[in-house]
Amino acid sequence: MAAKTLFEKIWDAHVVRTEPDGTTLLYVDRQLVHEVTSPQAFESLKLAGRKPRRPGATLAVPDHNVPTTDRKLGIADPISAKQIQTLEENCRDFGITIFGMNDSRQGIVHVIGPEQGFTLPGMTIVCGDSHTSTHGAFGALAFGIGTSEVEHVLATQCLIQNRPRTMEIRVEGKLSERCSAKDVILAIIGKIGTAGGTGYVIEYTGSVIRALTMEGRMTLCNMSIEGGARAGMVAPDDKTASYIKGRPMAPAGHLWEQAVKAWQALPTDSGAKYDQTVELKAEQIAPQVTWGTSPGMVTGVDGKVPDPKAMPDEKSKQSTERALEYMGLTPNTPITQITIDKVFIGSCTNSRIEDLRLAASFVKGKTVAKSVHAMVVPGSGLVKQQAEQEGLDKIFKDAGFEWREAGCSMCLAMNADVLLPGERCASTSNRNFEGRQGAGGRTHLVSPIMAVAAAVEGHFVDIRNWK
């Protein structure tokens, strides 16, 4: 048998039929649904008199619009409230399982999938959300789709797809102390650019990736889309199986044994070919900070804000100038001299228990700078519970952080958590686009411990030699 990559094995196992031009009807094992990208899909389904083919293969949760303050008070914004109510009605009408806003299991869709054991290796998983790539951390083929495709999957449990190309991103060596998966993925995007992965599915390989925890792998795969790739994947191993075992929706008993055996056959065969390979050395990755309005506009914390005059061509010069104007930054300013107003620890990139544990360990005994407003938004109700059992909430609150309810929150500011015009934020989220965290707001993407240090000092610091 020909040697195959992880991607090829999963793709081939999900082909229902192929058109002469290669267009494939691909079977979808699981779909996740949230309130923002689904109402129009359900509406069309109703209008066409169609029913979901496998309602039990879909899990829904409201996350984008939910308030992170006291939920007993309901949702102040009537339009947000209506969208969440619509999701609940649609799930009821179509027999789809939903974790409602007041369910302790509610959380960010890409946090709860893995947390519940809904996400499994070898699966095809979709969601009307570009950060669906997160689930690739388990060795699944997971990618974001539009609303019309959400409807398509509901109606047919399939999608019409073109086979993407494969890109291996190999990270070898040993990461510097206090450098994390977030720094690795930001460095990767800095290298390949925000369109470098367009048309590809990325498989992350190498000693650094193998050494990452499942949470780290999720952070890594989460931002694949920021490099243009719809999906990023990591081959499943013992860590993957240990993470999944015993979770509420994970297979159990003889099905578990059978599944684990199948997962062992998933990793890329030796001799299998990728369409492209990119290599990075871990030793060259410093803690990363974005300075611009696209995730590829990134540098090490020991670097400086770039000078548009030094750009190789007119287009990069223009986009750099525009980004610096928006960000209110002067060329050649050392990154560590950039002062901040807000800190956001959360999002589907960095809001899992391990992120919070690590961040808390750096906060202990310290105080948020007077000039800074800082908040922690756990990724799910269960992450929040776990953190509270471990006393992490107390550590954060004692230091001056706000401790909130679970949701997407200030990653995209669809709820009340918003940056004001001109405010500068150190954020553990995934996008630093203009206005992403609020119109006129300025976002710097960093790892959780970089965010914590910035909160305490009021400006970015090199976490490698902090305290």
Partner: protein, 207 residues
């Protein structure tokens, strides 16, 4: 879905790279449960000055582009969020075609679901079209069957498109209807798969 055969229309140039879907339509417009009326949010922040007033410099605020139906732009258009609200907003504004040297995958795909034709042309060709679009009233004719973009009295550019996508867009086919024609193949796939990988079929039951 509206079919796309040939289209002649006014060109509006947006000379920026990496235009993300957060710029095409910001978050506050994603709270809707409808697909219509989204042109109000199209490039909402870019249309305005810092004080909130309309920026007369922004291309869509200029009377000459009021009736534009072809958007001309640069690399990696539509990157970022998967929100289909982006093509919905473009369509609601009247755009039927977007021309760029490259597109982000999800946006590209979402266009086809909505009767919008995204056309990839070589960067040099796009540059030539930008030069042409400097002239007021610059129009292009797009012929999907022939896979060409033609400037009146000017050059003709050929573009590539997957045959399947082309056919669906040309005929305005309902993609779900097409897949449902293969219901028996889907059922056969499921039957085999349940036996090979039964743990994938432990479905949730809604309470």
């Amino acid at each position: 879905m509206q079919s796309f055969t040939t289209h002649t229309g006014l060109v509006a140039p947006l000379d920026r790279v990496n235009v993300d879907t957060d710029q095409i339509i910001p978050k506050q417009f994603l709270k809707t449960i409808k697909r219509t009326g989204l042109s109000e949010g199209l490039f909402y922040d870019w249309r305005r000055k810092k004080d909130g007033s309309q920026d007369p410099e922004f291309f869509l605020n200029q009377p000459r582009y009021k009736n534009a139906t072809i958007l001309l732009t640069r690399d990696n258009f539509g990157c970022g969020s998967s929100r289909e609200h982006a093509p919905w907003a473009l369509l609601d504004q009247g755009f039927r075609c977007v021309i760029a040297p490259s597109f982000a995958d999800i946006f590209y795909n979402n266009c086809f679901q909505n009767g919008i034709l995204p056309i990839v042309l070589k960067a040099d060709d796009v540059q030539a079209l930008f030069k042409g679009a400097a002239k007021e009233g610059y129009q292009l004719t797009v012929d999907l069957a022939a896979q060409t973009v033609a400037a009146s009295g000017g050059a003709t550019y050929r573009f590539d498109i997957d045959p399947f996508r082309k056919d669906c867009l040309y005929k305005g086919l309902d993609a779900i209807g097409l897949s449902l024609q293969h219901a028996s193949a889907i059922a056969a796939y499921e039957k085999q798969r349940i036996s090979d990988a039964p743990w994938l079929f432990t479905d949730l039951t809604a309470r």
